[in-house]
């Protein structure tokens, strides 16, 4: 299975967030246990309320070893690079620039992603009850996916709007790009409006 970019990022984010949370809970809990003088085992990093977080002796334990500073610098460098990559990954939207269309005669044509997005947007907006549609093409060139945000007009039926999108609009996009499938994630919102009395 080719997982979409967002799904990979979701898994990475949640794993790393969970790891960070676990680390904080364990470290904070270990300090609290010692600080409140609970019966801690002998291997516990802190012995009791009078202990300190990091003694000078512990901090300088390996300072005279030849491998210590290179190791510290290497580990810090790796962590810095990973954190930088993780941070930048949050701002990448993974929008697809082009889609590969199989022409059926062994050649391949390239369809611009913006063009397909535009067509889908126009088709989705043309439906009754849809005020605005925004389409983003994601995934990969040979297996694109779409994310669609529909803004429903007042008095539109969400169920019908979705049926129209899944039926007609996406069908046309699929056939025009020669795709067997076009997995879509749709999010439906409504235009805010005041209540209207009919009687």
């Amino acid at each position: 299975m080719n997982a979409p970019v967002a799904a990979v990022l979701r898994r990475v984010n949640r794993t790393l967030l969970g790891l960070a949370g676990l680390l904080l809970v364990v470290a904070g809990g270990a300090v609290l246990a010692a600080a409140f003088d609970l019966a801690v085992p002998s291997w516990w990093p802190w012995s009791g309320p009078d202990d300190v977080l990091l003694t000078a002796a512990r901090r300088q334990r390996w300072r005279d070893e030849g491998w210590w500073w290179p190791t510290v610098i290497a580990v810090l460098g790796v962590v810095v690079l990973l954190a930088l990559w993780w941070l930048l990954a949050q701002f990448r939207r993974g929008r697809l620039a082009e889609v590969l269309v199989d022409t059926g005669d062994g050649d391949a044509a390239v369809l611009r992603g913006r063009a397909l997005e535009g067509v889908l947007e126009a088709d989705a907006t043309a439906q009754e009850g849809v005020a605005q549609a925004r389409v983003a093409l994601t995934g990969r060139r040979t297996a694109p996916r779409t994310r669609i945000a529909l803004l429903l007009e007042p008095y539109a039926s969400p169920g019908q709007a979705l049926a129209g999108l899944g039926g007609e609009a996406l069908d046309r996009a699929r056939t025009s790009a020669g795709l067997a499938e076009l997995p879509t994630e749709a999010r439906l919102r409504a235009v805010k409006h005041r209540a209207r009395r009919v009687n």
Binding site: L16, A20, G21, G28, L53, A83, L162, E181, P183, E185
Partner: protein, 223 residues
């Protein structure tokens, strides 16, 4: 706040089983989940899971800032320059402050709370404002905003004759509607509102239609 129950897969009848294998798969206990997990079954709808971009970006920025600063300072000291004063002060503080000092305990407590919060963020779906919709088409996963659902139901209820105003509280599993009616008997209005909204909830196309409660009152007397 209520947590929605998992979607229940209705028992498969062998006659309508579209997998082309009548009999065997439907009765065999472990055959069904595999089929249901294939992802094309329109009855199986999962909640939307947030990517958690913002918490991830914040944690990444904090880790990047902290380790980056430390790396810079360690490298500077290696290059025979003086360490920054914060590092010396921090080292003195870590070596001098006992564990039962107020600041240490407070910092540890904050770390535990922050850690629990991050664990919650990592393990819950989030996106509580999005209600998953029925899968009309195998390719399309759709979610309806809670606010949009509430507006649609309000508009439906306003169409009932005798209804002056409507308040809709849309939960994830329940929807509570309070209408104010200024004419017609309350019982009739309530019956009409219930009938209209039962259709209305169906029309939202949600995977797990919320339970509906309707209350109709007279307008409060003006003082």
């Amino acid at each position: 706040m209520t947590t929605p129950e998992r979607p229940t897969v209705p028992p498969q009848t062998t006659g309508t089983d579209g997998t082309g294998e009548p009999g065997g798969a439907g009765e065999d206990g472990d055959g069904v989940p595999v089929l249901a997990g294939a992802g094309t079954d329109p009855r199986r709808v999962r909640r939307f899971w947030s990517v958690r971009r913002i918490p991830a970006a914040l944690v990444a920025a904090v880790v990047l800032g902290g380790t980056g600063l430390l790396l810079y300072d360690v490298a500077a000291v290696r290059a025979d320059r003086d360490a920054m004063s914060w590092r010396r002060e921090l080292a003195d503080d870590l070596a001098g402050r006992p564990l039962d000092d107020g600041l240490t305990v407070a910092a540890a407590a904050v770390a535990v709370l922050l850690g629990v919060w991050l664990l919650v963020l990592a393990s819950t779906p989030g996106l509580r404002a999005v209600l998953p919709m029925r899968r009309a088409h195998p390719d399309v996963r759709a979610g309806l905003d809670r606010e949009a659902a509430a507006l649609a139901l309000r508009d439906r209820a306003m169409e009932v004759s005798g209804v002056q105003s409507v308040k809709v509280r849309m939960g994830r599993a329940k929807v509570a509607v309070r209408a104010v009616s200024h004419f017609r008997p309350l019982d009739e209005v309530r019956a009409d509102v219930e009938r209209v909204l039962t259709d209305g909830v169906e029309d939202l196309g949600l995977a797990r239609p919320p339970a509906l409660t309707v209350r109709v009152d007279r307008p409060s007397k003006k003082g």
